[in-house]
Symmetry: C2
Subunit: 423 residues, 2 copies
């Protein structure tokens, strides 16, 4: 494969893109108990931003994947319609209010798109609209109007990081990234921002992610690359088994890198997709590690499965088990819960051939061999499991297929955060 | 339907059955950190019992349902073989060690059955063997040998309650019950004990339950009644989405009530099954209310579904949502999470026709109408949700099918209990 490298950067790193995020006061207007935010300046020193715009100087090819939840925010339907022609030029996105399960949801989503289009002087149909936050409360439009007005004058190459901040809800760290690779001798950059902490699950459990690139690539190939990359990254993350009404993973390609346009699955397509995949896997790990209340990242790494579907099913079942997650929080090298989760996953496997070990920066320890629990050094196991990144290595004896899933531990703080989210 | 009534009683209430439970020291022998138990008397004043025998003076017709987990304790395979002829006369069951994922599991399970058969002077093949507790650690046989020896001399009509205690693991209350009904002019009694607190899920998430009756009923009809009753009770309970390696729900019928033997689905069959179903639903609620760390029972009550399967799927999805469970802990009348869980359940429904309300002893409050969140009185909602039994009433607009599922809230204590279960 082509070499690619992670660079310091964001959604504004690829040629042609600018962005920014402000504190429009949407949370304050949605929920009286957050009224303190009402007094925030539009550009606070940190945090509290709740409205972002990402803009490209020229129309892009574009594609997106959405939540599979039957209950969808109207922003999803609107963005689906806008992307039907494979073209977009801007994203407008707010946090603090999901604009879902509201009678006037579509009207408000359209208003958001229109406000962005007017401010940027582009076609309304070329705006990707997204929201995240509380469900079932009316979206206030005035703060968005005021926010867009401010944003249009401050869009910049270094505004990506403010945009990343503006889409956070219960996230504790902002997620932004960029990678570079060569395609037919031209340097291509891909950048992105993501939010997601709770209500994350394996079916496009992305909450919101916006990706930009200056690669020249057709909308069809862009959609194909996005789907391939998401399948082994975003679709393999679970924090709590819940999927949201608003999940959106959108990508825009400006073509300004000057590479020959990718219009078929050639070597450039494969290199581009591979870089996108590795970047998405890194994001998936960040989302899992920042899962609500999480103290550690858990990776379930399955090999020796009879087929890829079984490998994925088993990896996801282990990462989703509340009992496994609680045991990881307690640094308890329980092997029974791993075997249980494999057993109820629905995938067929020979249980007498399962080996399980735990690995971290402190080394590895085998706790189950041929489906039976082993006596092991509890102190050593504790030392390994007290690290903040744990891999549960599951070796099956049924074949050669492999998969990885990403999750986190279940903690007191998960309960605390979700016991009273709205106040 | 025939009238039936709950009575004070246990697994020993039906004619012909005796039982008891002792502290054999299995937990102590399994886990050094519980060695304190080693000094418990065989018949402690309360708690700490870990071995029970249920015995019938004559061979019974019998049936059982088992875990669907691919990883099964060898006790399951042994009991399945013993029940192939539809006959049983005794149960031997231990807590503290699941005898699962051990190389010598079958050998130990057979030894348990043999010890019980010898002590009781019955056929080895007529013994139901069950275990619950830690997975993947060798089952110590000596304590069981000593315990059975003690038990055979103290089996009694009032020993059911000790047996109920002996099967508890993280349960905080013991579960025993009895009901009486008339079948063709004869009084028939059904009694039972159950354990279950964590690792409870909708696929036979029973952990262990033993049911006795003095009804005369063929093994085939007994199995059919058991399956019907479990389908709307045990199969509709979820504490944490995990299913165990050892789940067993077994029933034995002595026939001593003297009713005409039920050999077909006649009126007596229907009355018997209805009483069994109502008893099981009451147990399901007890299991859910005593879910690990639970502070309240949550019932998801779905009506207006297009078919029973959709109703069940939606009820189970809501009851299983970590976010809904955490919101109930926090007495947060969040309606978005309910709609989300309905939306990702996989069942088809018209989301624009969903009404959601919360009900408890303090009244009811509508929070969602026609798929949209409503403004509601937060103080009133809080008052309702602070009760210890909450019904989430979900009215769909698609048809007439209904279902109920039983669960509990997700609390700090769930995490605490499962963060370090083995020590």
């Amino acid at each position: 494969m082509n070499d690619f490298k992670f660079i310091n950067g964001s959604v504004t790193s690829p040629l042609g893109f600018t962005a920014n995020g402000v504190c429009a006061g949407i949370k304050a207007a949605t929920n009286a108990t957050q009224a303190a935010q009402a007094n925030e300046p539009l550009l606070p020193k940190s945090g509290k931003r709740d409205l972002a715009v990402i803009y490209c100087e020229r129309p892009c090819t574009a594609a997106a994947l959405f939540t599979k939840n039957l209950v969808k925010s109207d922003t999803i339907y609107l963005t689906q319609a806008h992307l039907a022609n494979g073209t977009a030029q801007a994203v407008i996105v707010n946090s603090g209010n999901a604009n879902a399960c509201n009678p006037d949801g579509m009207e408000k989503a359209e208003a958001m798109g229109r406000l962005a289009a007017q401010a940027l002087g582009i076609d309304e149909n070329d705006v990707i609209v997204a929201s995240t936050g509380v469900i079932g409360q009316a979206l206030p439009i005035e703060p968005i109007e005021k926010g867009v007005e401010a944003l249009k004058d401050i869009l910049s190459k270094d505004g990506g990081t403010n945009a990343a901040e503006a889409i956070m809800t219960t996230d504790t760290v902002k997620k932004e990234w960029a990678v570079q690779l060569e395609l037919s001798g031209k340097t291509v950059t891909i950048g992105g921002i993501a939010k997601g902490s709770g209500m994350i699950h394996i079916n496009m459990g992305t909450t919101l992610s916006f990706v930009t690139t200056d690669a020249a690539i057709s909308a069809e190939m862009l959609r194909s690359a996005l789907t391939e990359a998401a399948d082994v990254s975003y679709n393999m993350v679970s924090v709590d088994g819940d999927t949201s009404t608003n999940d959106t993973l959108a990508i825009m390609a400006s073509g300004l890198a000057g590479n020959p346009e990718i219009t078929e699955k050639n070597a450039d397509y494969r290199d581009f997709t591979e870089a996108l995949t590795e970047a998405f896997k890194a994001v998936a790990k960040k989302l899992a590690a920042d899962g609500e209340g999480a103290t550690k990242l858990i990776i379930a790494k399955v090999s020796g499965a009879k087929d890829e579907s079984s490998a994925k099913t088993i990896a996801k079942s282990v990462i989703c088990s509340s009992l496994v997650k609680a045991a990881m929080f307690g640094a308890d090298a329980n092997c029974g819960r791993i075997l249980c989760a494999i057993g109820y996953s629905g995938a067929q496997t020979d249980v007498k051939k399962i080996d399980v070990s735990y690995q971290s920066a402190k080394g590895g320890i085998l706790v189950c061999q041929n489906g039976c629990g082993l006596a092991f050094d509890e102190d050593k196991a504790k030392e390994i499991l007290l690290e903040n990144e744990i891999t549960i290595v599951i070796k099956l004896g049924d074949g050669t297929a492999a998969a990885e899933a990403y999750g986190c531990d279940l903690t007191y703080d998960y309960v605390k955060i979700n016991g009273d989210y709205r106040t």
